[in-house]
Amino acid sequence: MSIRNKALLKIIILGDSGVGKTSLMNRYVKNKFTNQYKATIGADFLSKEITIDDRSVTMQIWDTAGQERFQSLGVSFYRGADCCVLVYDTNSPQTFENLESWRDEFLIQSSPQDPEKFPFVVIGNKIDMGEPAVSQKTVHTWCQSKGNIPFFFTSAKESQNVTEAFTAIAQNALKEEKTYNYYGGDIVIPDEDEDEEEEERQQGGCC
């Protein structure tokens, strides 16, 4: 595996509280140390390293609190995100409808260069709890209207489809990865005159 192609993806998880965001995270990352900071600073952070196409990808996952008192931190939290995951509870239509405002809120606060092309993924969680209250067709239609957002149905509890969903999230984010032209400091061939002036100044002036 090539050492060089290491990618780090910043992934934001959004959605109403109670839809199972944290359980999804715990299931995927299998990390005991979660829920440390959410109450105090408004987000928990997890990471997972996976391999996609011979590339080592680190997923830096930001599990943000839905609470209002942390709302103003959105700009800082969402800054530089590579992908945003919108989670709803398949048994609660309201949580699905709220995805619209979650998405809008995110786009406003993070102001990506190309909002139309920003990679989102929708996850309908808790399929283990019975027949979904929101039909697949509804979800499909909404996702299509928002630029063909891929969607997945998962059960964090039963560990269904979770890995697949996240792998797709990573792939989606990588697709949008562009190689920008690096621009750094000036590399110019200095003018001959510049140097001559220098000499004159040194010779002419006294000190």
Partner: protein
């Protein structure tokens, strides 16, 4: 501007981690260090080779493949006689990058002869390990009218051949020019009688 001690300037180009430094290390010092780190800046190395009674001082630029050095690279292949554009046979991205370098060199240094070097063939246990099939590479090299070499610095395969070939071609070209000058002189003496001035004509000259 040219350092008079160096007869021929060769520059190594290509993505980072393809093994440019190892290639030069093998050629000049006959050694291989697998923990060689990414080159920062560029190193200039010299080697004297003897071919067919010709003594040739090679000046070799081992450049950094890192993106941030790309704008600098013009400085290295300026007035270079040959450019070896390297790619790693197990890395597709490095192969894709070949076109970028070919364009760069051809645009800025038309007299520079380009060679392709596929490195790390020791990593191929069989042909299927290649990320790009051999036919495709050969086709591409033909299309670009570029000579293709494949090497292993680790196992010391084909490395000397590569540099010797480059040197031979250089000497050949140099001799051709000298001969054509001589021929040209003959022509011009003839033409002076006719009152015409013919430019050096390399077409009919064999070597």
């Amino acid at each position: 501007m040219q350092n008079q001690n160096v007869d021929m300037k060769i520059v190594l180009l290509g993505s980072s981690y393809v093994g440019k430094t190892c290639l030069v290390d093998r050629f000049i010092n006959d050694r291989f260090d697998s923990s060689t780190q990414q080159t920062v800046g560029a190193a200039f190395l010299t080697k004297i080779i003897n071919t067919n009674d010709n003594k040739l001082v090679l000046g070799i630029w081992d450049t950094a493949g890192q993106e941030r050095f790309e704008s600098m690279s013009k400085m290295y292949y300026r007035k270079a006689n040959a450019a070896i554009i390297c790619y790693d046979v197990t890395d597709y991205d490095s192969f894709k990058k070949l076109q970028y370098w070919v364009d760069e060199v051809r645009e800025n240094e038309k007299n520079c002869v380009i060679y392709f070097c596929g490195t790390k063939i020791d990593l191929l246990e069989d042909e299927s390990d290649r990320t790009v099939p051999m036919e495709e590479i050969e086709k591409y090299a033909d299309k670009m009218q570029i000579t293709l070499f494949e090497t292993s610095s680790k196992l010391n395969k084909n490395v000397n051949n590569l540099f010797l070939k480059i040197s031979h071609n250089f000497i050949k070209k140099k001799n051709q020019k000298l001969n054509s000058k001589k021929m040209g002189n003959k022509n011009s003496t003839i033409n002076i009688k006719n009152g015409k001035n013919q430019p050096n004509d390399e077409k009919g000259i064999c070597c």
